[in-house]
Every structure is written in C-alpha cells, then in structure tokens.
C-alpha cells in the first residue's frame, strides 16, 4: 500500500515537472536579456542551444499558444547568426492563422528566415492566394510585401492575376505595394512585362504621390529588363514626367514632402532617372526636357544632402542623354567640377563628382582638366574611396600634354599608398607610359621607379613587359643599366660591414633587385666598355652583387617571412635572386675584358656558392665555374652570347588581353572573363602554342611557381644557359625541352576550368596539356585564390587504378586574400579510353575565424576534362 502510494506520488511529481516545462516558456524579452548578459560566445551558444531545443520540442508537440513568441525568438537567433531552419514551417503555420497578430509575425518570419530558394516557400502559395483576396487592407498588404520581397518565379505565376487586381485597385496603399511587387515580377518573370506596361502608364497621371513614385520604379525596371519598350512608351512617359518635375519646382507643393527645402527629393530623383532611361535616343524627347533640367541645375540649393542628391542625379541624366545641346552638357560638367567638387566641402559630394566626371572625361576632357588641381589633391585624401575614384580619373585625364606631371603625381602617390592599390597603380602607370611617353628614356625611367616603389606587388606581366622594352630598344640599354644600377645595386656597392648598413636596406626588394641584376648582366657590358668618363666599374657591380648575395642568404635563413615573390616562398625567391646574381657574374666575366684580379673576384664568389646548401644555387655555381674555365671558352662564348631582342609589341598585346585577370580585379568579371577565354581558347590554342618565342623571358624563371622543386629548377637553368644556343640550332624544340619552365607563359593560353571549392576558395585549372589519343598525359596547373587568409593549405588528388597522378609541391601552404597558391598536377592514363577523372580533397585552416574549429575540408570529383566526354 505504502509502496503504491509512493509510486503514485513519484509519477505525479514527474508529470507535474513535465507540465511545468511546457507551460513555462520564456518571453522574447527574457531571452534577449539573457542573451545580452552572456559574456562569451560559448555562453551565448549554450543559451541558444538550450532555447532552440525547447522551442523545437514545443513545435513538435504542435503547441499553438507559444508559437508566435517562439518564432520571434528564432528571428532573434537568426539575426545573431544561429541556425533556425527548423522554424520555417512554423512561420507558414502562423501565416495561415486567422489572427492578425499571428499573421504579422508569420509574414515577418517569411521575409527574414526564408528566401526565394527555399522549398518550403511553395507551401505558402495557398495562404498568399487567400490573403491577397482579403478585404482587410493590412492583411492584403502583408501578402503583397511577401510577394515583393521573397517570391520565386513559380510563386509569381500562381498569384499574378491577384496582383493585377490590386494594380487596378483604388486604395493607394495596396496599389503602391502591388506596383513594387511588380518590380520584382519584372526581374523574375520578364514574360509578364507586356502585361505590366499599361498599369505603369496609368500611374503617371495619378494624384497620389506614392503611387507615382512606385509607378516610376516600375517604369525604370521595365526599361532595364525589356529595353524594346522604351521606344513605344517614350511619348507616354516623358511628358507627364516633365510636367510633374516642373510642378515640383514650384514652391506650392505639399510641405510634408520637402526635405531641407527641397520638394520631395525622392520623387525628383526617380523622375530624373526615368527621363534618363526613356529620354536618350530621341531629339524630340530631349528637347522637351532640356528646360526643366537647366532649371534644376541652376536653381537647386546645394547646401543639403537632399539638394546635392537631386543635382547629382540631374547631372547624370544630362550626361546620359547624348542628344541634349552641348551648352547644357557643359553646364553639367561645370556643376560637377565647380559646385560638387570644389565648393561643397562635403566628402560625399566629392566622391560622387569624381565618379561622375569619369563618365564624361572622354567627351569633355579639356573642361575636366580645369579641375585637375582639385583632382590631384584628392589623390592624397585619407579616404580610400575618394583616392580610388581620383586615381581612375587621373588615369583617364592623361594625354601627351600632361603625362609628365600626372605620372609624377602617381609616382608620389605610390610612395605612400596601401599595398592593395599598388598593382593597379602600377598597371595604370605602365599603360600611360606606353601610350604617351615623350621618349624612351623617360619611359624606362618611369617604369624603373614604379618597379622600385611597388617591387613584388608589381604584376608579373608588367615586369616582363618592362624587361622586353629594354631588350627591344638597343639604344636605351645603356641608359636602362644606369638607372637600374642606381636604384637597385648602387646602395649596396659600398657596404663594408653589415652593422653599418642603413636599416632600410636590410630588406631587399627582390623584384627590383632581380630586374636590375638581370639588366646589368645582360646589357651592363655596353656601359662598362664604352669609353665615356662615367663608365661603370665592374668592381662596383661585383661588390654590390656580393652584398646582395650575402643579404639574401641572411634574410632567407633568418626567417624573415615578409616578402613573398610572385607566388613563391621567401626561401625560393631569395634562391632565385642568388641564381640571377650568379648568372650575372658569369655573363660579366665572359663579355667584359676584366683585369685579372676582378676575374679572380668573380671566380671566388662562384667558388663560395659551390658549397651552397641550395641545390639549384650550388649547381649553377658549379656549372658556371666550369664554363668559365679556359678549356670551354669557345663553347661558353656561344652559351653566354647576348639574347636576341624580345618582341615587345606582341608581348604587350598579350598583356593587354590578359590584364583583366589581375588579382584585384572584380571577381565576377574575372569569372566571366575566364569563361570567355574558355570559349576562345578552344581555337586559339593550336595556333598559339608553337609560336612561343624562342627566347627566354625573365618572366619564365622569375615567376617559377614551383621554386622549391629541384627538377624544375634544373630545367630553368638549362633554359637560361642554353637558350641562345637553342636559338641557333633548334628553334622548334624549345618548347618541348622546358615544359615546366614555360608554365606561366603558357598558362595564359591554356584552357581554364574552375573547381568547386566552396565560398572561401576559388580554384582555376589551367590545362597546360590536354589529354589526346596520342599522348595520354595531362598537365594541370591549379591556381587557388581566396578572399580570406588561410594556413595549412593541403591539396590531395586520388585517381582510379588505370590512371596515374604526379603531384608537385604547392608554391605555398598559406594564402593571403588576393594571393595565389599554384600547384602542378600531372595525370596520365594507361587506358585512355576510360573516363578521365580524379577525386580531390582540399583542407585548410581559416586564420582569422572566430569559429572553434577553423579547419575546413572540401572534397569532390572532377570529370570535366577539356576535349573529352565526361
């Protein structure tokens, strides 16, 4: 008896506890308060986890009492970045509820938790259909808002007749919502545009201001999505817009709509945008709006942001309608340069004016030049947004009359601009110099200084272009050696002890150093042997090379991991530098008749590096040492003969084609660019491959993406040593002999594919060699770029049994935003008929993540080999 009673007691107690658990549900306010009192993210996470579990339980039980409250909590969690997918269905349940209070929260959740891609959205169709027919305006309004913000194309097709009803309705509240919902319909289902046109034109004569405003938004969207409507609609759209604008300018308008003295700036701006969209292309239309545009330009008060917004929009409209008279267009430019750029001390006005001037600079260059001083002043603004705009404008303003002044300003700008901008500035300078350089010496001067200021951030293609420039023009070679010697080598020529070295010289500038050394090695002899008083002394060169060699050794072994040259590691880049320096010494030895003691100096240096622990450096030192021996003199004279000139113009053309794939280019543009090249390259490839210039460009060994792989470097060495030899004996074989040395040059012509790597990483596959029936191997260069910085990067590849894979080391294991990791993979197949494929796994750590587990692993299969059926 007692036992039973105890049992019963226990059972009731349990039931009571359960009941309490479900009955008591924290309010949103309590949850927000608790969340805010959390001190660490771990605490926050624990709270959200606990709350979510309870909410999920309640949802499962089909609870209705707390549903609204719980969905609201989920909205809060969602905003803080926590997963809330399980609440989507509950939102729909709330939408269906007859209570307005529930509906409001349900539709809010629909707009926040869901987007058009969610499957759940199809379930809401019935509810929307019902609510759109509701005779309570607020309920219909909720449904229209949902259509305008999240509807998918399918959903739109289901509810379109109901939207049409509201478009014809009398209630301005619902009509404006329906008009904006139609804006979304235009974007998602352009087939309906012809049905929407009439509803749009009907709004233009309306008295209700919000209906006109939203009708104009629809007009703009129609013009954007189906430009073929512009022509027939012009006569219906332009006159009412012009009239309304005139009305707005007269002072007797509704005071509730004016903002700091400007009558309804929102409507004015929309009207101007519509004029610009529908007015261009017709003389008649442009004539009818010229008056009102002049009025706005001259009468609008520019002291407030609203006024500036209207003036700015008016200027844009004038600029976009090419048919407007020249005087009006000049007035627009004057307003931009005068009132917005010079007078308004507001940085926002400056920004928009710089941006807008860029769009007219082609047409009104002389007029824009008047504001050159202010534009140049903007180059030193602390705000990067303004500097970027000014930079583009300066570049566009350049011509042969002001090239010297503007390039001086840009060089000055380079000295203290952030690294992020440097590549694009270098690109601009190179292009300006290319087009307008007064003479070749000046050109070399500007490029050397650009190189010295950007160093490793200079795009590779520009570096090789610069080298090609010097190589192509014999007359400038002596001058170039002088300039580059002064910039790159002279600072190191008189160093006797490292302790007394200027600290700024400790860090080498690898790209500048490398180009200088190469140029001195290749052309320095001309300067040394000419009989002028100022001829270069070989001893000075050898001294500075000696210092640079020492410094590069120190830097690479003291772990100064700051500079990464052209995708390689510090170590490999300083190795490259040493190799170039050794080659330079060998060339000088062969080409200049040096006194015995100087020759000894060179041989001594070579001897030192014969024991270098870098295989490649050691090998070079040994080989050069042998080559310089008397026994091989006849042979080595030929080996060390000057390189034939590089074809500058073809390289420049190539550079111009490829310049858009720069690391800081717009990612979407880059993608489409690579897609285009994917299409083009199918035909291009065959004809371009054999035309690879027989000379070795500096680029080829500088940009070596696999610096640490010794086999590859041996190839480089061969190519460097024997290139001129090859040139005499065997032109065509050059390409086959140095397959890897050619990577970077070839990759521009290779077929490009992309690999699916999730949101952080982008991988481009450059197919250097495509599998074909004759040759069952395939070389693929993987270029990984990322928007975040990551470490411990690892890329693995697995293939089926009938294939073989050879994975070369990656150029780096960490990646900065804008940087690149390059890795070469060679695939071959024993039975080429079977499908080509490989599995890949990419793993890395996010270095700046707040998540507890920053490591990410991605896997996938790649079958999309070019030229093969998948």
């Amino acid at each position: 008896m007692e036992k039973e009673a105890k049992k019963l007691y226990k059972k009731t107690k349990e039931m009571f506890r359960d009941a309490k658990k479900t009955l008591y549900c924290k309010t949103l306010r309590e949850v927000v308060k608790e969340f805010r009192s959390c001190k660490t993210t771990a605490e926050e996470r624990a709270l959200v986890k606990k709350e979510s579990a309870q909410i999920r339980d309640l949802f499962k039980e089909g609870d209705t009492a707390f549903r609204r409250r719980n969905v609201a909590k989920l909205l809060f969690f969602h905003m803080q970045g926590y997963p809330t997918e399980f609440g989507q269905l509950e939102c729909l349940k709330l939408c269906i509820s007859p209570k307005y209070k529930d509906k409001r929260v349900g539709y809010l959740g629909l707009g926040v938790l869901l987007d058009e891609n969610q499957e759940v959205l199809t379930l809401v169709t019935n509810c929307l259909v019902q609510d759109l027919q509701s005779n309570i305006p607020l309920v219909a309004g909720l449904a229209l808002t949902a259509v305008g913000n999240v509807a998918s194309a399918e959903l739109i097709k289901d509810v379109f007749p109901l939207i049409e009803k509201h478009l014809q309705g009398r209630d301005p509240y619902l009509r404006k919502k329906a008009l904006l919902a139609s804006v979304r319909i235009c974007r998602k289902v352009p087939e309906y545009n012809n049905l929407l046109v009439d509803y749009m034109t009907q709004t233009l004569g309306e008295r209700s201001e919000e209906v006109v405003l939203t009708g104009l938004a629809l007009a703009l969207e129609l013009a954007r999505t189906s430009p073929e409507y512009i022509e027939p609609l012009r006569s219906k759209v332009i006159p009412p817009c012009v009239n309304l604008l005139k009305e707005l300018l007269s002072p007797s308008f509704d005071p509730e709509l004016s903002i700091s003295g400007i009558t309804d700036p929102f409507l004015q701006v929309k009207l101007l945008q519509v004029l610009s969209a529908y007015g261009s292309g017709s003389k008649e239309a442009s004539n009818s709006c010229a008056d009102v545009l002049i009025k706005i330009l001259s009468n609008t008060d520019s002291s407030s942001n609203a006024g500036l917004a209207v003036i700015y929009e008016c200027v844009r409209t004038v600029i976009s309608i090419r048919e407007l008279p020249g005087t009006l267009r000049s007035l627009a430019v004057e307003t931009l340069g005068g009132r917005l750029l010079n007078e308004a001390k507001d940085n926002n006005a400056r920004y928009v004016s710089l941006q807008c001037l860029l769009s007219v600079v082609e047409e009104k260059k002389e007029q824009v030049k008047r504001y050159q001083d202010t534009i140049l002043e903007c180059l030193s603004d602390p705000d990067i947004s303004i500097r970027r705009r000014a930079l583009d404008l300066v570049y566009a303003l350049t011509d042969s009359s002001n090239i010297t002044q503007l390039s001086r300003c840009l060089l000055e700008f380079l000295t203290n601009c952030e690294d992020e901008l440097k590549p694009s500035v270098a690109r601009k300078l190179s292009d300006m110099a290319d087009r307008y350089a007064p003479d070749i010496e000046w050109h070399v001067d500007v490029m050397s200084r650009t190189l010295s200021l950007t160093d490793v951030l200079m795009p590779e293609s520009l570096i090789s272009l610069f080298v090609a420039l010097i190589s192509a023009k014999e007359s400038v070679q002596v001058y170039a050696s002088k300039v580059l010697f002064e910039l790159g080598l002279q600072p190191y020529s008189n160093v006797h002890s490292f302790d007394r070295l200027d600290p700024s010289l400790y860090e080498l500038k690898p790209a500048l150093e490398m180009v200088s050394i190469w140029v001195i090695g290749e052309y320095g002899y001309k300067w040394m042997t000419n009989q002028e008083s100022s001829s270069l002394s070989a001893v000075e060169v050898i001294n500075s090379l000696h210092t640079i060699l020492e410094l590069s050794m120190r830097n690479s072994y003291q772990g100064k991991k700051k500079q990464v040259l052209l995708g390689g590691s510090v170590h490999s880049s300083s190795c490259l530098l040493r190799e170039v320096a050794l080659s330079c010494l060998a060339k000088l030895y062969m080409r200049v008749s040096l006194p015995r003691e100087t020759q000894e100096l060179i041989l001594n240096t070579l001897r030192t590096y014969q024991t270098s622990i870098d295989l490649e450096v050691q090998q070079r030192a040994c080989e050069y040492f042998q080559l310089l021996d008397e026994r091989w003199m006849t042979f080595s004279k030929q080996v060390m003969a000057p390189l034939p000139p590089i074809d500058y113009h073809s390289l420049r053309k190539k550079h111009l084609i490829g310049s858009d794939t720069a690391p800081f280019a717009n990612p979407r543009k880059e993608l489409s660019e690579s897609l285009v090249s994917l299409l083009l390259d199918e035909e291009k490839e065959e004809e371009q491959e054999p035309h690879e210039p027989p000379t070795i460009l500096l680029e080829d060994w500088q940009t070596d993406p696999l610096g640490s792989s010794s086999a590859n470097q041996a190839d480089d060495l061969n190519s460097l040593l024997f290139s001129s030899h090859h040139h005499h004996s065997n032109n065509n074989n050059n390409n086959n002999n140095h397959p890897q040395g050619k990577i970077s040059a070839a990759s521009k012509d290779a077929i490009v594919k992309t690999l699916d790597c999730g949101e952080y990483l982008k991988a481009d596959l450059y197919f250097l060699q495509v599998p074909n029936p004759k040759d069952a191997t395939c070389k693929v260069e993987f270029h990984f770029t990322s928007v975040v910085s990551l470490t411990n990067f690892r890329f693995q590849v697995a293939v089926p049994k009938y294939m073989k894979v050879e994975l070369h080391p990656a150029s780096s294991s960490s990646l900065q935003p804008g940087g690149e990791i390059v890795q070469l993979v060679v695939l071959s197949s024993s039975t080429p008929d079977k499908p080509w494929q490989f599995k890949y796994r990419i793993s890395f750590h996010l270095s700046e993540s707040t998540a507890t587990d920053p490591s990410i692993t991605l896997e996938g299969i790649f079958r999309d080999f070019p030229g093969r059926q998948p």
């Binding site: 309010t27 209070k101 904006l180 979304r184 929102f266 701006v269 926002n348 990067i384 947004s385």
Partner: protein
C-alpha cells in the same frame, strides 16, 4: 535597388538585417562581419560610401549604430543616404527618441516599419505620416484580437 540593409552596432553586433537577395545564412554572417570591420575602421570625416565586392555600400552612423545599405553601383548614393535617414526618422517618431536598446528589444517593430518603407529593394513611401499611420493601424489591429488570457503576457 537595395540588396540588403543592415543595422550593425559599433561592436559588430547585428541589430537588424533585411536581405532582399538570396544570401545563405553563412554568407549573411560573413558579410555582416566583414562590413562591420570595414566600417568601424573608417573615420567620421570620410565619405559614406565604399566600393565593396560588386556592390556599393552606403552607410551612415547614428549614435552607436551603423545603418548599412548595399545598393547597385549605379544607384544614386546620395539619395540612398536620404532613404536611410528617412527610415531613421520614422523609427525616431515611432519610438520617440529611438535608441539602440529600443531596437534590440523591439526589433520586430523595426522590421514592420522597414517593410512600409522598402519593398522589393525600392522606396515605397516617402511620407513619414503615412508610414506611422499604417504601423499604428497595424498595432491596434493586432491588439484587437486578444488571445487566450492565460498566455497574454506582455508582448510576445
């Protein structure tokens, strides 16, 4: 058009987020974090625009809150600022001297107001009076349907 509108505190906390283009939850979090760090680094004197990915970000700081709008690069940046200000004024009128705490505890109200100002990424209503009237009507309609008295605890 607006692609998104975010309210981010100076500490980088999101106070309100309206996404008008389909961004995944992961992207949403990432974008908010990225923009928060970009914006807090900018000084007051700088202009209110940054070029970000392929959008233009127009932002304005009101007290401790950043109002951040991602718009098309061809949009009029200055009028976007004016729209943001319009929204802030509506919030201010509704809450009466709005502060960050109001928005934290009543974020749903802030969403309702925004839904009356922006639809499909376009400006919907430029009269402050109309916006407030609608919201008040909506509020009183929600109150008109009292639910089971047992559960009608303050707010939600």
């Amino acid at each position: 058009m607006f692609h998104f509108l975010l309210l981010i505190s100076r500490q980088g906390k999101v106070r309100l987020a309206k996404w008008l283009e389909p961004y995944s939850q992961k992207e949403r979090t990432k974008i908010s974090q990225e923009l928060a760090s970009l914006l807090t680094a900018r000084s007051n004197k700088m202009c209110n625009f940054i070029e970000w990915r392929d959008l233009k970000v127009v932002y304005k700081r009101y007290a401790s809150l950043f109002f951040v709008a991602g718009v098309d690069p061809t949009d009029n940046e200055l009028i976007t600022l004016e729209i943001i200000h319009h929204y802030v004024e509506c919030l201010d009128k509704y809450f009466g001297n709005v502060c960050e705490l109001d928005l934290i505890f009543n974020f749903s109200k802030a969403y309702y107001i925004l839904d009356e100002i922006l639809l499909a990424g376009e400006l919907e209503e430029s009269k402050r009076g109309n916006v407030l009237r609608t919201i008040q009507a909506s509020d009183s309609m929600a109150e008109k349907h009292p639910e089971d008295p047992k559960h009608s605890v303050r707010g939600y």
